[in-house]
Subunit: 440 residues, 2 copies
Amino acid sequence: MTMTTTTPNVYIEDLAQNGTAYLGQDVTLHGWLYNKRSSGKLHFLQLRDGTGTIQCVLFKGDVPPEMFEAGNRVTQESSVRVRGTVKEDKRSTLGFEIGVTDFEILHESVDYPITPKEHGVAFLMDHRHLWLRSSRQHAITRIRAEIIRAIRTFFDERGFTLVDAPIFTPNACEGTTNLFETDYFDDKAYLTQSGQLYMEAAAAAFGKAYCFGPTFRAEKSKTRRHLTEFWMVEPEVAFLDLAGDMDLAEDFVAFIVRAVLENRRAELTLLERDVSKLEAVQKPFPRITYDEATKILKQEGHAFEYGDDFGAEDETIISNHFDRPVLIHRYPSAIKAFYMKPDPENPELSLNVDMIAPEGYGEIIGGGQREDDLNVLLKKIKEHELPETAFGWYLDLRRYGSFPHSGFGLGVERTVAWICGIHHVRETIPFPRLMERLTP
Amino acid sequence: MTMTTTTPNVYIEDLAQNGTAYLGQDVTLHGWLYNKRSSGKLHFLQLRDGTGTIQCVLFKGDVPPEMFEAGNRVTQESSVRVRGTVKEDKRSTLGFEIGVTDFEILHESVDYPITPKEHGVAFLMDHRHLWLRSSRQHAITRIRAEIIRAIRTFFDERGFTLVDAPIFTPNACEGTTNLFETDYFDDKAYLTQSGQLYMEAAAAAFGKAYCFGPTFRAEKSKTRRHLTEFWMVEPEVAFLDLAGDMDLAEDFVAFIVRAVLENRRAELTLLERDVSKLEAVQKPFPRITYDEATKILKQEGHAFEYGDDFGAEDETIISNHFDRPVLIHRYPSAIKAFYMKPDPENPELSLNVDMIAPEGYGEIIGGGQREDDLNVLLKKIKEHELPETAFGWYLDLRRYGSFPHSGFGLGVERTVAWICGIHHVRETIPFPRLMERLTP
């Protein structure tokens, strides 16, 4: 920061982390008025600077009359500069307040659209660029950032190589229904739905690899769990079988939850999240087969056709049987992708695994062991009526030193929704994209 | 790992990091044959497992005849399992080798396309999924991953909040020429070229924010510096002026280079990078104005029209005057985007800055201070003949508590090209997308 002032510029987070060092000192803060309360000779200005909120006390006796009047006039979200002395304030969670000696309105905010009154969701979504300034959205965004940091740390510390998958893909391998398409010079390109096939190539190159980026689905779904644009992390490991894949997924999710509990507890509290539910997320996670999961549904008297995939309601019923994420493995091969390896003990079943979050937050992980036999894979591609030519390079991975391998994908937004305890995924990403929402 | 073996599975990186702990022990390794050399009773198998390469010595006297024969037969990139004793090997950089007691070919690779002979670039690019297995591509990918890690660490440690910008954007704000377009249900969406406008909203919310993701340009450029899909990191800071923005960019790039020098020196050596050139990248970086830069061009007898933007050749000539990145600031406003703030001392100039990498690697950073006055911005939008309605939410940032702010964008691929010392950006990303390259 090089704004010209005679006292040091500080962020509120500096005071939160090490306020004692500033005690009795004069500091300058820049930010916006979050809230205020006045009583005769005093203005209590709640200043937010994006890194925190601090009470600034403007006492009539300490400043020139026009400055006290500015404190009277200042509106919500006006940008301001405050200079003053750092004082102890035992009543605030921060522990400090500012005794103001100099106060300046930089830019007055007139009729700020988001007021402390209740607003409808459509209105707030239309004003997402301003809504992000609220304490609730701050908490969610910070937890999201922490989850993303934890994801990368987990894999980086375990020797995984980051291998970014492409966004533009050349073939509509599994049909164009849910794909976004764009002209690509004289060709067509499709926006990626998953980096997995590329990560299989990366696993052969690096042993342990992951990609992490946005993925896209043009699904005509208006549920609380669907975005058209969402972030996914996809690890893939050579010489790893399904059991090892489940170990990895379990370690991974436990690590993420622990990181949020350690570093973002204040934000969880602000969201009124029941942290005891998150503290229960300890290894080992229950592991049940698809067959066992269908028995739970039957036992609950819930109508379910054996052989179908689980829907949102089914997942909720199953998850309610456990106090932590549950791993469901070995689904019928018929409902799983062509690249899933069949269980050698029962080829009708697939060596796949889904992880269902607790408390009805649905599937957060899907993965499994991949088919590594060239001929079996070719047969599967025919059975699924897929264009073999499109898979030329993918089949190369089975031609040149084929290897057992497994991996999975974790959806960031559903994970954020679960950990934050929020109902709809639209609040889990700064600028959500839904079927009917492309702005701001 | 849960592959069934009686000896512990290790990665070569485990031996690289702590081989002494394994000395004399039996271990199991899984990987691919990278190279081999035989001499009568000995096969020297170079095994790669993605985390490193180790010599495995198969001695005829130690194993059954059919196992020694397998060592004879094994081809490049066949997948194998090796069991054996960890022994000291002072001649290798790793320091250890394996005395093989058990050797198994898991899958034979027949006619692996990439051989030690020279291949053309088109051929290698067509086989990118296999080319990634080579030591050179390993080094580049690892340095890329290190740069990305350093980027995130730098901002996370400095209290920046990660705020992912959307990929789908609703308006073709600055014309559709270089934009990829897609049908979005009953609407049109465009793939983002930059998250900056969103980061300005994020700076108002979080004080210090950054986004980091893929961006897209449908430019009909076939130069060595252009990809259609590339990753960009964009920090934006409230109450920061141009001088502070230059400080931040300088700290940031010095941090990235230091991280690579500290953590990826072996990879730089493999790429035959002159590390003394990177070691010179110390603060302070030279800061020159656009005017001063044009004088350098003139002094070199290089034809250049004052008022134009710098082209690749111009950038190279300027960069050759310095031994580290150079910051060029205050370009003519006429060639800069509508949101750039004019210099109050000379409104013909803009408070922008570009950073040019040394050694002719071109622009790696573009940024500056943003216009924060609503009326000036409205006037600029008219002058640039842009649709005002498309900027409704962006103008809100100047309506409600407007604030001075600055930021920049750094292109990852050009930074990787520079640090690795490679000529063409196509090798800087695992699966490059160029005008004529959409596969594999």
